[in-house]
Amino acid sequence: MSRRFKAVDILLIILTLLPLAAGIVLKIVMMPAGEGIEIAGAHIFFTIGMPLQDLPITESQVNSWLVIISVFWLCLYITHGLKTKAVTRRQHIAEWIIEKTESLVKDNMGEYFSGFAPFIAAVMALSGFSSLLTLIGLYPPTSDMNVVGGWALLVFILITYYKFKCGPLHYLKSFTEPVVFLTPLNVISEVATPVSMAFRHYGNILSGSVISVLVAAALQGLSSMLLGNLPGILGEIPFLQIGLPAVLSIYFDIFSGLLQAFIFAMLTMLYVSGAFPADDYKKRHKNKNGGKIKCLNSQ
């Protein structure tokens, strides 16, 4: 019996790791190693003609799909064979994830939004795992503005949906407050929310990789300048590259990536719950007063 479960475990772990391996293989096959340092966007595999704008299928798109597939198998791995009496470590992990995200969402958004837990978990997982792809040498989709922009757009749609749900007239009226001539600024600040979210995330990750590349290049130059006179092959090894890039990688690839994922999730929760004061809404609908009572927005 346990042997069968073990076989399933191994199969699911392999299926989890397979997309990542496929990504590495794709990178090796499709992209020849560049000469020197280069700071460029995602590699374009091919382009599909579309109305308005052509759709390039890029490394960042493919890598996010790989992350999604990987997470899908990971979910299956940690949730298969659940028992009411927790016996396996992966079941503990699964329960821990669910309990933590649900309590986080409840603390930050209130009881009304408790259904948002999987969405927040999805934001965290997609953003965090995408940023961590740099650890295995793949292009992080989070350093592509279009990817993060899509997530921010979704959050913006959610915010607007909940503001409309709170009361469409009230929402439209809120643009003219406190005085009418500030309306353009209000519109800008409304649009600025997703833009700032997208730019913050994408900028942090991209700047991390840019700094890493620059430091590595600088260290290589310094190394060849100082130690270039050593005889034979010793002169060609950039010894100074040992150490510092690793520390930077821990900061930029792991810490910064996870921190940005957390920040993005926190901002999503705050904006969405701020757009819809559930208690106020309930009170208003009980009183049947329409839009008389003020709908308090955090914005």
Binding site: A40, L55, T58, E95, I98, L153, L154
Partner: protein, 171 residues
């Protein structure tokens, strides 16, 4: 080799990325949250059931306990009764045994007294007889002649009777 510009905006890519997030949300909801929530609910139900059954068990145990306590006190009373009646019975029986024994002892003593009186009478008779014969012998020896033994004996007997009754009354 083509690369995207570092800063570039592409509408379709943004839409695809939006859909990616939605898809991952659905995946997590269906494959991670649904089974685990179901499990947690099942566990909660099981826990509730166990709690309620434990509560029921405790209640029935308390009922049984009070019942047994009642039974125990009743049994104590019964035991007291039994001991009391047994003591009374024993006393009564002891009294009857003692009285019976006393009667028996009295009878034995009476019998013994009668026997003793009989024995005494017999012994007196024997002694009288003996004394008479000894007296006859003595007087024969004394008189050195044989008198009519039967006359003599009657004489002595009457004498001893006189003495015996006098002695008998005295003792």
């Amino acid at each position: 080799m083509q690369n995207l510009e570092v800063i570039s905006v592409n509408l379709w890519q943004i839409l695809i990325s939006l859909c990616n997030l939605l898809i991952l949300f659905l995946i997590l909801k269906k494959f991670l949250y649904k089974p685990v929530r179901k499990l947690l609910k099942k566990r909660q139900d099981e826990l509730d059931r166990q709690y309620s059954s434990a509560e029921n068990d405790r209640k029935s145990a308390m009922e049984m306990k009070s019942e047994w306590e009642n039974k125990l006190s009743a049994a104590d009373e019964e035991a007291d009764d039994i001991i009391k009646t047994a003591g009374a019975n024993a006393e009564r029986r002891a009294a009857s045994i003692i009285s019976g024994a006393k009667d028996e002892a009295d009878a034995i003593v009476k019998q013994a007294r009668a026997d003793a009186a009989l024995e005494k009478e017999k012994a007196e008779k024997d002694i009288r007889h003996e004394i008479a014969s000894v007296s006859v012998l003595l007087s024969e020896k004394l008189l050195e002649r044989e008198i009519n033994e039967s006359d003599h004996k009657a004489l002595i007997d009457s004498f001893i009777d006189e003495v015996g009754t006098g002695n008998g009354e005295g003792s």
